[in-house]
Amino acid sequence: MINPLRRCTCAVNFMLFGIIFMLAACSTPQSVPPFALEQAHQADLEAHRAMRNGDLPQARELFARALLLQQSQDNLSGEAMGMINLATVLHKLGDDQAAISQLDQILAQGSIVYPLEWRTAAAFRKAVILTDGSDGKQTGAIESALLRVESECDKPCVYTAGLSNLRARLALQKGDNSAALQLTKATLESSSAGKEEIANARRIAAAAEVAEGHFELALVHYNAALVIDKELGIPSRIALDLNGAAKALEQLGRKDESTEYGRRAAMLVEANRVLSNETLKK
């Protein structure tokens, strides 16, 4: 049997050790990152804030500043992230050429400089930007970027659903509706696809069904996409879903419902236009 006095002494010793250990931990000076990297982090935070407020020119300036600060410290991961962020804003501002130029700086270095994960991210963004502005004309460059993502992405690849949707969009642009439907079906059945990609797949499937003349099915896809996009709170996509549903309803001869959906889409677009102007004025 253990003596109570000894048990008590052990407990006190243990507590003393714990307190001393904690005090020692508290007194250790925290390592501070270089000032330039702190500034880069701050610029990055402010750029995200500007993006959230819809002030894209301000976001572009801040991301460019963050990139310069990362380059001044030769921080390769930070540089790659900065270039991808800058490319994303430039694409949103409509300057696709400048956006692709930023991404090519990462991709042109090959395996020599930038880490693999950033090269994959850059290739995916390049494919998205080219698909948005191509109208089926830059198929070769898009295919090359997609192949690069597929070959370099670590398994399980986070871009699988996105790649499938991009291929579905390309098929739709070529008029291959059945291929588009098959590709989106794979995404919809995937358990790893995120909400954004599920909604994208629904929208592509709806467009393919409209092209095939299956308006009831298209309406189902648009309504499903609408629910997800409302959850995500992305106004431009909600407007796309409402307009798509309005067109499908019109084809089905349900004029009143079609008008109602069209009216909701117009109100949403107008409200966002006013809000966007107010934000820029501020």
Binding site: T9, P29, R203
Partner: protein, 315 residues
Amino acid sequence: MKLLADKDERFKGLFVKVGIFILLALTGIAFNLFFTSVKKGLFAPKSAVYFLVDSAEDLKEGMPVKLSGFKIGSVKNITLDSIAHAKVEMSIENQYLLLLNEDALVSLKKEGVIGDSILEAKRGTEGRGQLSAGATVRFERGGGLDQIAEDMRSRLVPALDEVNKLLHSTNDPQGDIRQTLKNVRQFTEGLNRTRERVDHTLDQVDESIAKDVRPMLHSINLASENTVMMTGKLDKELPLMINKVDATLDNIQRTTETLKSAVDKTAPQLPAVIGESRGLINQSRNIEDSISASWPLKNIMPQPEQGLLKMDSHD
């Protein structure tokens, strides 16, 4: 003889063991304190540098001295000299003393709008000799928000007093302006009377132009006398009036100049205040971001977005 008998073999040497344990812990704490002090520059060699100031208000021992945002020393001691001036002794690290020149300037400032007071050192003119230990440097009080407010107050209050006096003088029945107006009114009344007399004379001329030449001449004579009298009165009163009006204008001009000077001297400080306010807002945002990212608030507050922007296949 032992007070307690150790019956259990395992208790033998217990106090020694506990003693060694506590000794080790204390040694660890002492080492920690020592290395932290070294890191904070407690043992760095320092030199005394002095400055003299009329009043030690807002100055206190331990106050940091900064150069280009870096702490280079602190206020070690404040004493009164033989002519009741405050003599402030600063303790400056030797490695930073090399950066200060003979004509270095120390100014009292606030960190941000509502921050603590600090002493900010300025290097002095390039090419001048290096500041030596024990030297005395120049000192000035910087323009914090309260300083600006005090400056504004000290200039505006006399100006407002002037305006108040001017208004008082305007309202005073015995004052310059009221008296001037009274004289003008009397003068106008005199003129009216003269006009009536002239009108009366002319009427008489019309009625009895042939038979009453003499009374008419008499009346004209009277009117002339009145006119002469009035001219004399005017000669006396007009210079006084003009002098009083001049004095009033001088008062107004002085008041305007005082106000203009106050505004001119304060205006250059406004951009600094705006800059400090902007800095304060940015610092507050940074603090908010940092706090919201710390435990336990990070579980409650929304985290600020950072890193890679989201992008999916539709963007």
